[in-house]
Symmetry: C2
Amino acid sequence: MSRSGAEMADGRSLAERLGPSIESTRDQEATALDLVLTCVRSGIMSGLIEPGERLRQEELAEIFATSRIPVREALRALEYEGLVTSEPHRGFTVTALDGDLVDEIYELRILLEGQAVRLAVPLLTDEDLRDIEALYREMQESDDPDRALAARERFYLRLYSVSGRPRLVGLIVRLRQEVARALRWPTLQHGASFHQHFFEAIQDGDAERAVSQLTTHYQRVAVLIRRYLRESEGRTRGTPQERWLPRSESADR
Amino acid sequence: MSRSGAEMADGRSLAERLGPSIESTRDQEATALDLVLTCVRSGIMSGLIEPGERLRQEELAEIFATSRIPVREALRALEYEGLVTSEPHRGFTVTALDGDLVDEIYELRILLEGQAVRLAVPLLTDEDLRDIEALYREMQESDDPDRALAARERFYLRLYSVSGRPRLVGLIVRLRQEVARALRWPTLQHGASFHQHFFEAIQDGDAERAVSQLTTHYQRVAVLIRRYLRESEGRTRGTPQERWLPRSESADR
DNA sequence: CCAACCCGCATTGGATACATTCTAGACGTG
DNA sequence: CACGTCTAGAATGTATCCAATGCGGGTTGG
């Protein structure tokens, strides 16, 4: 327990990678649970914490200057969100995305987001469209990638919420979150043009055209991510010890 | 702490209702968390624990002879599954099904189960069909409602798993679980005839006919459940103190 | 030199205890 | 009688401590 930052992945210890996020988030979150939850989630989604990396409760507790209890609850919450995986008495690891999982998630996203679009578009009011257009502009014009990504998520959330289906929207949000990491990877050259076509179809009230745009785009993105995963398969990232192979084939649980 | 069974709903204390399930489940589950999770979940789904009933952590901890920590983690897991709802500093309650929620869940089930059927039917092997037919017969011929229900769930699980989409199947299982309580209510007179048509379509390899059967059946069931909810709205079940009205309109969270 | 066994350590799972925050009901007052 | 306040109780959030499990290194025998 004396070694403070022995676990490395991209050369820096977990504490070093998470440090900045902690200080900016502290005092914004009411409880230690929320602090850990927010920081670890953004760390995973931003790629700071790599897929397959092991998350030790005590190490995180030390980093966040708290006890293991809030850490455990935060990790369990992340497990429900799909971002980490746990096995009894073996601990938590960041869920690794494999090609099959990515394909299935994008297939589900096409199904669910398509349904949300079909339900929402006929119900759009002028106020909805104004809000959505503002988010669209923020997303397209922002130079900061983080801001652009955040605006994009709010854009979709705002649009889909019009459907009046909270459960559907909740499922979509979780699926998007699960693959958000992958969007950091160099897959989104033609994202801007898709968003333009998609938004124009929304503006025109043409749900089917929007769904069609969305479908072909997601299919393409899934292929790109799969290719990226295959290409990066050879070069091992992180030390082999930290690269943590699951014991069983796929404990989906 | 001295009052062992002060909380009643159908006349028996929570401990009395959960007791048998505990003893039969203990030693099968690895951790205390799994024990509480399994017992409370089956208690909710079987109707032993009523919608709207309050679940106090300390009471459950006492019942399961454990501490509050595994109880809390189990309740959080059930919250994620949608079976219980929590509000800060007010505790956990069994999620009450309202008509809108039921409608949305059945809409989602039509979407997701329809997709699973379309994916699975073309892939069915002879072995798959044999297994599925065995489960179908068990479901139709069993006199014990519990056995019939269990067989039905395994029937659908076996069928949908053929699709090779574990995430899709997982979502379906959770949605079915959420409304499983409602199926205890007198809504399924014509269930048998639907299952027959559905199974025959599966046997014929006609996915679209199966999806069409499923769609109209689920739409009808949703209407029946909604009517049942409206009719039973007047007569309060349980003592008024236990009947726990949500404070806000719909904290879906 | 290699393999199998065994012991020790690291890590997770769980229990108890305490501080804090909120709710709900009773009480008093305008 | 209505409304605000106050207080007792409970539920939550967290820390610390103990038990159980799994993994790896070391040792010993062939």
